[in-house]
């Protein structure tokens, strides 16, 4: 279970509140869509979920985030990652190994899994996403869409309980999106919480719950300081 309690946030030096007294709860198996016009705070909200706000990004932050009964404030970012992890919009910010296979093996290696299990996750994910041909390719030479698929794959090999996806569909072919949709359905059925900020109708269509930032931002609460 993922809970936001009375979250307020605005960036330092900027008067506008992105969120004010916002509360939300997600249960295992939930797929949640984050909607809103460009600049409404979709990425900001994902950063709050995973703790990058307030731990890395400064600003005025109030409220609590809980994973189950654990207060996120008590966990460091590396301690949070196995529970909850984010695929960022720009894949270049997230890939840091020369070879795709190394990128995918990094997370399960850090979880100290048995080499057999690491191989199982890497090979399984590659075949699930139908990108087996990329396994020994250099990450720097991949196309934008391939890089996005590899960052998504590295989230799958980490296998956190909560998956945060920021514009995962950008640059992905329609076949690729169908594959991603299938994977997300399966993960939700197995009890994962999936939070999607996207504009793609197929992905948004998966969601049973929606956080509509336009609605929240136009609500009466926001203007009371």
């Amino acid at each position: 279970m993922l809970t936001l309690k009375n979250i307020s946030f605005r960036y330092r030096g900027r008067p506008a509140w992105i969120l004010q007294n916002f509360s939300f709860q997600a249960n295992p198996g939930d797929i949640i869509a984050v909607k809103g016009v460009s600049g409404s705070g979709k990425s900001t909200l994902l950063h709050i979920f995973c703790g990058v706000i307030p731990k890395l990004i400064n600003g005025y932050f109030q409220g609590d985030v809980f994973i189950g009964n654990t207060d996120l404030a008590e966990l460091s970012l590396p301690e949070t990652a196995p529970h909850m992890s984010l695929v960022m919009q720009n894949p270049d910010l997230q890939l840091f190994f020369p070879i795709v296979e190394q990128e995918l093996a990094f997370a399960p290696e850090n979880l100290k899994l048995h080499p057999y299990e690491i191989e199982k996750r890497v090979a399984g994910t590659l075949s699930e996403l139908k990108i087996g041909h990329l396994r020994y390719k250099e990450t720097a030479n991949l196309s934008y869409g391939q890089k996005k698929l590899v960052t998504f794959a590295s989230l799958l090999t980490l296998d956190p309980e909560i998956l945060l996806l920021d514009e995962i569909s950008a640059g992905i072919s329609s076949t690729g999106i169908e594959i991603i949709v299938d994977i997300l359905k399966k993960r939700a059925d197995s009890g994962k919480i999936i939070i999607i900020a996207d504009h793609n109708p197929l992905l948004l269509g998966l969601a049973k719950k929606t956080i509509d930032l336009d609605e929240i931002n136009n609500g009466p609460d926001l203007h009371i300081q």
């Binding site: 960036y11 460009s38 705070g41 196309s143 934008y144 072919s173 690729g176 109708p201």
Partner: protein, 220 residues
Amino acid sequence: MDPIFTFSDFSFGYLKHELLFHDLELKVNSNSVTLIQGDNGSGKTTLCNLMSGLLTRHKGQFLLENHNMDKLSKKDISEKVVLLKQNILGNIVAATPEEDLIIWQEKFRRKCSEDDNEKRMKAFQLYNMEEFLLKPVWELSHGQIKRITLAALLLNSKKFWILDEPFSGLDSKLISILENTIKDRKNKNFGTLIVSHRSEFHTDFIDEIYRIENQGILKV
């Protein structure tokens, strides 16, 4: 209709033994809207980069209007075509939206006209950017940065546009603004090439659709 780009017997690969395009035949019209589709890694971005002169060393014939691409300088090419890169930060050269568009106007053109300020403001207004004109780029969201690049395109209205995934990260309102801009251009005989995965296009303004497959390109 005059082709702006002509590929004939064209081959290109990043590695000697791995061709991305082999014997490609393609004509891109200068005054129509062309859509290019293809799987991830099939070479869509590569094609855009070739057409804007960022990649060289191809084999076969490759013409911009009637000139051999090999013989043209980057400057010659950039006077005819403008590229919107997929990786949006690759399009930004300045610290704020305002500065970025001023650089487009002052540095990349031979002459500056008096109505530059007005043109710039019009571009910003179209994409609802007045609020963050003077904000540093690193405080902007992905979608806001994308809007800078779309506004900058408007200052290059007389060039052929090559747009690599222009719609990704845009909400539906911004998508329709961009679509309308492309339609308006077409009515004024300025063409656009779009690389996109979107399938739900209002196809009324797209003249030709191609799909990259098996190192070649097929008309859809």
